[in-house]
Symmetry: C2
Subunit: 343 residues, 2 copies
């Protein structure tokens, strides 16, 4: 598997996910602003992956700060961190990573600017390595929920490309296959960006895991016809009560899973849980450019001047969630107390 | 409004819906086989419209039969009728129209071949004119269900372009507007063919009815956020118990409407009701080419060789349907007895 993002000398490079699967190529970031733009423009996406990217971007940005005093350094770093944390609003991992990097700066108060820069670079490498380890743990816990032979429905891409590597929802799929289970994936194409068709199918085909893509509007029909054994998705933010913000379309899959008595699992690292928000309705939902709906690249799909609405995420109330799979184990309802126990 | 389909001398011409909204142009059919192909290839689509097209195609085909004896004519006509009724499997209006045309041939047993040909042409004109009248009646009945100010969610295109004119679901919208109500439409884009984005938005924009297009996977989120007052869709076939076959995605909208206590209405002529089928699971569901999912025109969207599944319709069990709006009035549950009363 190609790495989603990596250090390349003093630069950060990431697979340009806008161009997958047709072109597998690096997008080079030479400064932190390049990383902010890459996150905004979805060169890299997926809650854990943009957390990793933010950390690496800040380490790169810090390295370029040309000041001698730690106070001046801290000022400049704080401005960068603010900018970085605003790149996209919904995934809390971005803010989590920025805060973790900021703590390194605070801790380094007694050292030199150079030592703090080194510590930031080291921290970003640790966040990347830990993310992959966390996903493998999520996979190990989650695969216990997968029957010996199962068709798993997933939405968007919560795979290797959405993380430092291995994936959250697709980590569960990979771990189930590694455990010798006979798994197949039904992947929602996931409009408008087609992460399911372009990224999830691509990843799984590389790993020789059987995958069939369907239109988002077909998921319910497959569930009703008993063609789905379980659903696993990732998450962009989970509130303290277990409500889940994830890619637009997740809510309706969760409702349909419940209606058809199919388990609906969310696989996510603990860094996705935002204890500061009591419920999902407090999570900011990004509204993206309506052109993503009315156009494909430069090609107009609809009538000229058509109005479109393009919320990028939705909120799934916790009552539709069967369990949350984390690196520390599986959280079952009631989520409010279950989540507390994990922190 | 441009007519969906019309006689042009001895030819049948229809707006080529594959090319809308970018190009508004006629597709000319010179023989009944052209009409079969046009229905198969979705030059014209929508259950009532393909019923009208089948009738016109058969009248055109009949006119070209060069025999003197009525028996020989009947043989040739029956073969054409068989071929026509197989063009697409799900919408029962196709079979309904073919049967209605076949009855004209049976009735004409005592006349000449030429008189039967004339009667067939006349019958096809009547089917077209009646379809428009029926839709206006559906609209008048249906608009009573629309609040004074309402956002109506619809799926696919059950509009003028799906019928002889005026539309079924969009007929309800048009009638509500004509009755002075303040209506706006939320249109699912409806993958993979994008009938919502390409056709519904196009029609409504021409009529200056406010329309906003959303991805199919966003419908649930809009319902949960109370941005939808009612749902109206068309139907391709309705079983005797009220189960509804309609464009893939309808089932999940119906489930989500029920979950969010939003009325879910189906607007369709009585010719869409198939009394020979006790339940929706007996309705044949067309599986179309997976390339419609993995490609856009000639452009590959997904990885090379990706597997996709492309059911074109789904079945909505009647328990999710609030009411069926027909030209004779509104059928409410229990549908089995309600439907019987209308025949």
């Amino acid at each position: 598997m190609i790495p989603t993002i990596e250090w390349h000398g003093k630069q950060v490079r990431m697979i340009d996910q806008r161009k997958l699967p047709h072109k597998v190529g690096w997008h080079i970031c030479r400064g932190y602003k390049d990383v902010v733009k890459a996150i905004e423009g979805m060169v890299i996406r997926g809650a854990p992956a943009i957390g990793v990217a933010a950390a690496m971007g800040l380490a790169m940005g810090a390295a370029s700060i040309r000041v001698k005093s730690l106070d001046a350094f801290r000022d400049r770093f704080t401005r960068m961190a603010d900018e970085m944390s605003k790149a996209r609003p919904t995934a809390v991992n971005l803010r989590w990573a920025v805060e973790r990097m900021s703590r390194v700066v605070e801790k380094g108060a007694s050292g030199s600017v150079e030592s703090v820069k080194k510590a930031l670079r080291h921290e970003s490498e640790k966040i990347l390595a830990q993310d992959i380890e966390i996903n493998k743990k999520i996979g190990r816990h989650g695969q216990r929920l997968v029957p010996k032979k199962a068709t798993i429905l997933t939405h968007c891409n919560a795979g290797s490309l959405a993380t430092g590597g291995y994936g959250t929802a697709l980590g569960v799929v990979r771990a189930a296959q590694e455990a010798g289970k006979d798994v197949a994936v039904l992947a929602d194409e996931t409009r408008p960006w087609l992460q399911g068709l372009r990224l999830t199918a691509f990843e799984l085909m590389q790993d020789r895991i059987p995958v069939t893509v369907i239109a988002d509007n077909a998921a319910g029909s497959f569930m009703r016809r008993k063609r789905v054994d379980l659903v696993v998705t990732g998450a962009d933010r989970i509130a303290a009560n277990g409500d889940v913000a994830n890619k637009i379309g997740t809510y309706q899959i969760a409702v349909l899973a419940k209606e058809n008595r199919i388990p609906f699992y969310v696989a996510a690292p603990l860094s996705t849980i935002d204890l500061t928000l009591a419920s999902g309705d407090l999570i900011p939902v990004e509204e993206r450019n309506p052109r993503e709906i009315s156009h494909l690249g430069d090609k107009t799909l609809g009538p000229s001047g058509v109005r479109a609405a393009n919320p990028a995420f939705d909120i799934t109330p916790s009552k539709y969630v069967t369990a949350i799979i984390t690196e520390k184990g599986i959280i079952k309802p009631p989520f409010k107390t279950g989540i507390k126990r994990f922190f």
